[in-house]
């Protein structure tokens, strides 16, 4: 009987370890927070070329992460890419109407992310609005081509 | 036979792979008696028990137990029928993860809702009957072969079955435990009014407990009768078996080429070449 009690204790501990491990993975490793979707609001931005931007990429302002790329789809009206950004609530009603969004690369080979920078317009963007001023990703091939054609004309 | 038949085996055919094991076996096993099924090794006696217990399905023919066709029953009905049967396996087949007490209690626990106290009484009663009440805390690994078989016997009778099937109960036992087992089987059969089927090739012991004997060879019943009948049976196969003669219709030699050829043929060809 005593042996079976200690066995049951071991099994209980085992299951507990599993649950705690999963909680650790969720909170510490994937940075999950319990206050999930309600704490964000969404803005849209159209880019003529997004390069290698992926959903879930970082959105940062002055280097501080303020949100994520929610989704990327092709806008069939203009044939450019419509990127939906979800930003933290703290920024709601703070981003000016002439703010710019640029697709940047972290480091030489790093991932691509969206960088926001503030403008000076007193009017601000609300949930679902679109950022007008955007800067597409730099595509290496295009840069090289430009460089070569400049060389040729010189 | 005037006895009420408990088991009827009717024109049974069974084959495993390409080898035919039974070719039309007929048997009637009377209620409340010890019936022995004998025959040389390899004649499928254990297979016959498995067919009776419903673990194997025959190619043709049927087995009736108390009027029910074993192989036509649903799985559930078959398991219900098995509650009325006990089977003693050659090796004892005790559950290695349970101790002696729990092994005997096992059928009671799964088939009855008896309170623990009553299960305890019943288990101790059965263990007392096989003389192993003191061994109840041992694990199967700590038992000798004979003791394991006695525990298995206690387990087989735990639910007070109407029928017990014994698969080679005497194989590999020393003379003392053999005598103990013979006594136990005899006593249990009388005390509980059981129907017993004993599969064995130990002639002496089987003859002392059996009321009726079937002799199987080459897929048929070749003889049947009381021990006294078989003792004077003139069938060569039965005679050879009962009297333990090394050679006869059951040959001593496995089929082979002529001895002379086998020994000399090889050298002869080599010499010739």
């Amino acid at each position: 009987m005593k042996r079976s009690r200690s066995m049951e204790f071991g099994v209980g501990l085992f299951i507990l370890v599993g649950i705690l491990g999963l909680v650790f993975l969720g909170l510490r490793v994937s940075g999950l927070t319990f206050s999930g979707a309600s704490n964000t609001y969404q803005l849209e931005a159209n880019f003529s070329n997004i390069g290698g931007l992926k959903p879930r990429a970082r959105v940062s302002m002055a280097g501080v992460t303020v949100g994520r790329v929610e989704s990327i789809e092709l806008d069939t009206e203009w044939y450019d890419a419509r990127v939906t950004l979800s930003l933290t609530n703290e920024l709601e009603g703070q981003i000016s109407r002439d703010a710019t969004a640029a697709i940047l690369t972290s480091g030489l080979l790093g991932e691509q992310y969206v960088g926001l920078s503030m403008g000076g317009d007193p009017e601000t963007l609300e949930e679902g609005d679109t950022i007008r001023d955007t800067q597409s990703a730099l595509v290496l091939e295009e840069l090289i081509q430009q460089f070569i054609s400049n060389m040729a004309t010189n | 036979m005037s006895d009420v038949p408990f088991i009827e085996v009717d024109n049974l055919y069974f084959s495993r792979g390409d080898s035919e094991i039974f070719r039309g076996v007929n048997m009637t096993i009377p209620h409340g008696k010890v019936t022995a099924i004998m025959g040389p090794s390899g004649t499928g006696k254990t297979t016959l028990l498995k067919l009776i217990g419903g673990q194997l399905t025959p190619d043709k023919g049927r087995v009736l137990i108390d009027g029910d066709d074993v192989h036509r029953l649903s799985r559930k009905a078959l398991f219900t029928l098995r509650k009325r049967m006990g089977m003693l396996f050659q090796s004892g087949a005790l559950f290695s993860d349970l101790d002696v007490y729990e092994n005997v209690a096992f059928p009671l626990r799964v088939h009855t809702d008896l309170p623990d106290a009553m299960i305890r009484d019943l288990v101790l009663l059965k263990l007392q009957a096989v003389g192993l009440r003191g061994a109840r805390h041992l694990t199967p690994a700590e038992l000798s072969g004979g003791m394991a078989r006695r525990v298995a016997l206690a387990r087989a009778v735990a639910l007070d079955p109407e029928l017990i099937l014994y698969d080679e109960p005497f194989v590999g036992q020393d003379p003392i435990s053999m005598g103990v087992l013979v006594q136990l089987i005899k006593r249990l059969n009388q005390a509980l009014n059981l129907t017993s089927v004993v599969v064995s090739h130990d002639i002496k012991e089987t003859l002392t407990i059996a009321d009726y004997l079937y002799f199987i060879s080459e897929g048929h019943v070749v003889a049947h009768g009381t021990p006294a009948d078989l003792d004077v049976n003139q069938d060569a196969r039965v005679k050879q078996f009962i009297h333990g003669e090394p050679d006869g219709p059951v040959p001593f030699h496995y089929p082979a080429a002529q001895f002379y050829q086998d020994m000399l043929g090889d050298t002869a060809t080599r010499g010739g070449a």
Binding site: M7, G10, V17, V29 | G86, F89, F106
Partner: protein, 266 residues
């Protein structure tokens, strides 16, 4: 000439028979799984399940955790030497965590589980079959699929995902020890880079799905090989080997398929 034709015909016949055997044994294994896995849970069944969970789960924990620790440490060491060339050693946490969660933890834990618990399950059930315990259980009127196989199957299905979580956690910690404590990667970037790139549903969730699939397959193979083996000592040793070989191949093959579906954009 005619003899050659005969040999070819014989080969084709043999191939055909082998394929039929394969399909038949697959069918047998499927029916076996359905019969043993589906059943009404009972208090007695729960007790048996706990006992088996102890055997396949708790007793496998040590080997799985130790392996996880070493693999995490090696990942950090190897990753660092590659990443430092690009000045990207800050991405170490991300690399360690993603490789563990998506691939290494589910696969390596499943392989260890097949070797440690799967082979033991096969041998145990096989021995019960060889000593006629399963037959005698059937004769007592208890279905060995329910009583012997089902608790072992469900214990395996529950144990492996838990072991996989443990493997990941310990591996990430091992990566931390080597990367941050030893090689001097900045602690903040180890964790924050990890958090920025690991998604709960996509990475942890998919890893867990993999691990559950592996758990079902490995335990299924193990209990079926035990139940279906030839009840001799040679039969048991062969079935134990088969369990490890088949499980490993199934895990690696399925891992490719699952990875293609989950992360390959199919």
């Amino acid at each position: 000439m005619s003899m050659k034709g005969g040999q070819v015909a014989m080969r084709i016949t043999r191939l055909g028979r082998r394929s039929c055997d394969l399909v038949e044994s697959l069918g047998r294994a499927g029916v076996f799984l359905a019969q043993s896995a589906v059943g009404i849970p009972s208090a007695e069944g729960f007790r048996l399940w706990v006992r088996q969970l102890h055997f396949v789960g708790v007793l496998s924990l040590a080997i799985v955790l130790v392996s996880g620790l070493f693999i995490g440490m090696v990942l950090a060491l190897q990753g660092y030497t590659i990443l430092v060339d690009f000045g990207a050693e800050d991405a170490l946490g991300q690399m360690v965590a993603l490789s563990l969660l998506r691939e290494l933890a589910p696969v390596v834990a499943a392989l260890l589980f097949a070797g440690r618990a799967g082979s033991a399950l096969t041998a145990e059930i096989g021995l019960m079959k060889a000593t006629e315990q399963l037959t005698s259980m059937e004769m007592i009127g208890v279905d060995p699929l329910r009583r012997v196989v089902a608790p072992r199957f469900w214990a395996g299905v529950v144990a492996l995902p838990i072991l996989t979580v443990g493997f990941s956690v310990v591996g990430i910690w091992g990566g931390y020890l080597v990367g941050v404590e030893w090689l001097g990667v900045f602690e903040g970037s180890y964790w924050s880079n990890m958090q920025a790139s690991v998604a709960f549903i996509n990475d942890i969730g998919n890893g867990m799905v993999k691990s559950i699939v592996f758990a079902v397959v490995v335990t299924w193979i193990a209990v079926f090989q035990g139940y279906d083996l030839l009840p001799t000592s040679e039969g048991i040793s062969r079935a134990t080997t088969r369990t490890v070989v088949y499980s490993s191949l199934a895990v690696l093959g399925l891992d490719f398929v699952l990875t293609a579906v989950m992360f390959g954009g199919l």
